[in-house]
């Protein structure tokens, strides 16, 4: 038996309870200021080394989650609070003022993007029998939270590279307001929507502004559009050079001692007898913002708000949030002479009399309800 494990015979167990875990003390330590955190942390605490892409938010950011001990409530009161949450946010129209005016789309307009969840990668087939992989991105209950006009943006962010863009903050995944700190809840007052788990901002042109409180869905994009997907890559933690940079390492045998997964020389001699900046070295791998550009949307499921985006390589692990925007690639973005996108976004009210199909396919995509592919005889 492991030395650290203490066997507790029935005889001395009472003592164990009395001395080591007095009920009252346990209860108290759960609520007292000094020991409050002890019971919060149920998983082992792991210290990560400082990375070049730290997860820690900047100190001036709004504190988000209220991680203190839960309220000690009766079931009745719990239910009452649930009711009140529903009551407070069950307003039909969250708009405090009239709807904003809509502008016409021009090739210079930059629309807002969506926050999606990467929910899986599955294969699809084209009508010519070619197989390829698509990444399923589910639009995660998006609402527009805030708009900051370019003037203020310019003033706040001196030296900004995007001085002529407004900032549209979009929130994803509504959550129980009781999870959050008061200051974070304050961010959602303007939009009048439930607090969101995740916020992200998009730079938009002035004509593409969407009123806070508006819901965004998958129809914001249409099949055949090309999009850019941005997300944080999979976090691999601290890795050696073989995994991180694909270096060869050393041989397994042939007299190799302590040289199996190491890097070789780090630089030359002479004048340059030092390690040059940018040398590939071990360190934190992953968890960095990466953008994959120009992915085609092959298929849209309007019921579940799922976009089928080309390729298996959308950055990030499963279930991560992905920012999906209109592509900036000049050859793939919408041209002025082609069809216009829903602008500034897709409003359900505009399509009340139309029936929106549950699934929208690209023309060249094989539908699974269709019969097998048959090639015509060549003449």
């Amino acid at each position: 038996m492991a030395a650290s494990m203490r066997r507790l015979l029935p005889g001395n167990c009472g003592r164990f309870i009395q001395n080591v875990l007095p009920n009252e003390r346990l209860l108290e330590s759960r609520y007292s200021k000094s020991h409050g955190n002890t019971f919060q942390r149920t998983l082992p605490y792991v210290q990560f080394r400082m990375t070049h892409s730290p997860n820690t938010p900047a100190p001036w950011w709004t504190k988000k989650l209220d991680t203190s001990a839960p309220e000690d409530l009766t079931s009745d009161n719990e239910a009452f609070l649930q009711d009140m949450v529903e009551e407070k946010y069950s307003v039909d129209s969250p708009l405090k003022e009239g709807p904003w005016e809509r502008a016409d789309w021009t090739p210079r307009s930059v629309r807002c993007g969506l926050i999606c969840r990467k929910i899986g990668v599955i294969p699809q087939w084209l009508n010519n029998g070619k197989k390829f992989y698509t990444t399923l991105l589910q639009v995660a209950d998006n609402h527009v939270i805030r708009y900051t006009p370019p003037e203020i943006n310019r003033e706040r962010r001196r030296g900004s590279r995007t001085p002529n863009f407004g900032i549209q903050v979009v929130g994803a995944d509504s959550a129980d307001p009781r999870l959050f700190k008061a200051e974070y809840l304050g961010l959602f007052q303007e939009a009048g929507v439930m607090p969101k788990h995740h916020l992200s901002r998009f730079f938009v042109t002035r004509d593409a502004v969407i009123q806070p409180g508006t819901q965004l869905n998958a129809m914001h994009f249409s099949v055949g559009d090309f999009v850019d997907c941005q997300a944080r890559t999979i976090d691999h933690g601290y890795q050696g050079v073989v995994k991180k940079w694909g270096m060869k390492g050393g041989p397994a045998s042939h007299g190799a001692t302590k040289f199996h997964r190491k890097m070789g020389a780090t630089g030359g001699g002479g004048n340059m007898a030092r390690i040059w900046p940018g040398k590939k070295m071990p360190g934190h791998m992953g968890n960095e913002w990466r953008i994959l550009k120009g992915l085609k949307i092959w298929r849209i499921n309007t019921k579940y708000n799922v976009l089928y985006v080309h390729g298996p390589c959308v950055p990030g692990p499963h279930h991560c949030y992905v920012r999906v925007m209109d592509t900036i690639l000049p050859l793939r973005k919408r041209k002025g002479d082609g069809p216009k996108p829903p602008f500034p976004t897709w409003f359900a009210d505009d399509y009340k009399d139309q029936e929106i199909p549950e699934e929208i396919f690209d023309e060249s995509l094989h539908r699974f309800t269709a019969s097998s592919i048959e090639f015509e005889e060549e003449k």
Binding site: S32, D66, M84, V85
Partner: protein
Amino acid sequence: MTSVGSSRALTRYAANGSHKWFSSQSCLTNTEVRKQRNKAFVAEKKRQMSLITRVEKIKVEFKGHPEDTTLIMNRGLSTPYNCAMHMEELLRNRSALALVDGRPWDMHRPLVKDCELQFLHFQEQIPYLSNMVNKAFWRSGSFLLGYIMDRAFKDQYYVEPHSWPAPDIRSGSFICDIDLKMDNWTPNEEERNCLTRIGYNMLLSTSSKVFERLEVDASVAQDMFADNRFKLEQIPDIAAKSKSQNTVTVYKLDDHIDISGGPMIANSGLVGLFAVSAVHPIDTKFGRLHRVQGLALPTQLKIRSWTWKLLLERAAKYNATRLPGEVPSSDDNISGSQTIEQPFLPPSGASRPQEATT
């Protein structure tokens, strides 16, 4: 004295171009009144302590966590708080109220005879104990409102606390009725926040402030509250209802002194969240008063910001609990009346050694 009951018997004094409202009796500002009252309190306390000439031992039977024990303490000197210090840090920190022979007892009130002792905190499971400690907390909240209003205003305003009704937790807020001498003043949100901040400054001060209790003769009390016309009027009634027909219980927190039957919680450190939720003008037979409403929660109870906001919204609504001057119900607790929570009044400071010998 005769002019106390009449409305607005105030002196307006103009000097150096500034206008000040003063106490009708001594022409003092709130700050000066506070100072004077403190001096009287300290003097009286010193006098009472000097009456204890011999240290006598009493046996205190403690029941509960961590273990049942018997403590030998000093009669008239040792308080339940001292007993807790002997037991465990946990008890000392979290106990809001003591239970002496089954009666609620302030944590800082000296024990006078052999007794059984228990400590109460804010998560008691037995309803009547929980009710007892909750009410003490609510009462302390009202006291705290008096504390805030007493020092919140500029010197040209003279504030006279009137009283507060019996603590009613289900009404959603605790109350303090105060004569602000401003007929239609209602604070906006920022001003309410300023009032709350005064409370927090006190609550968050490095040393938590203790609720001190003192029983004084009616005449001493009248001297103490000579600058408050309402209290002067109430003191004879309160004294008459007391067991010895002539004592009034006063509490002191920091430098604020008010009449209350008590009991109060042990110290201000037990108050976690606190807010002055609203000030509503009310019309009573004493004229236009202001009903200051507040909300607080003990440190021991955790609350999420959203829930707190919800409760605060309710606490801002007008609390229609009994107005001052209305016929009090049998157990109503106008400021200073000795409540039914204390059916057996402990002897006043003057008679204490005498009783101890009998």
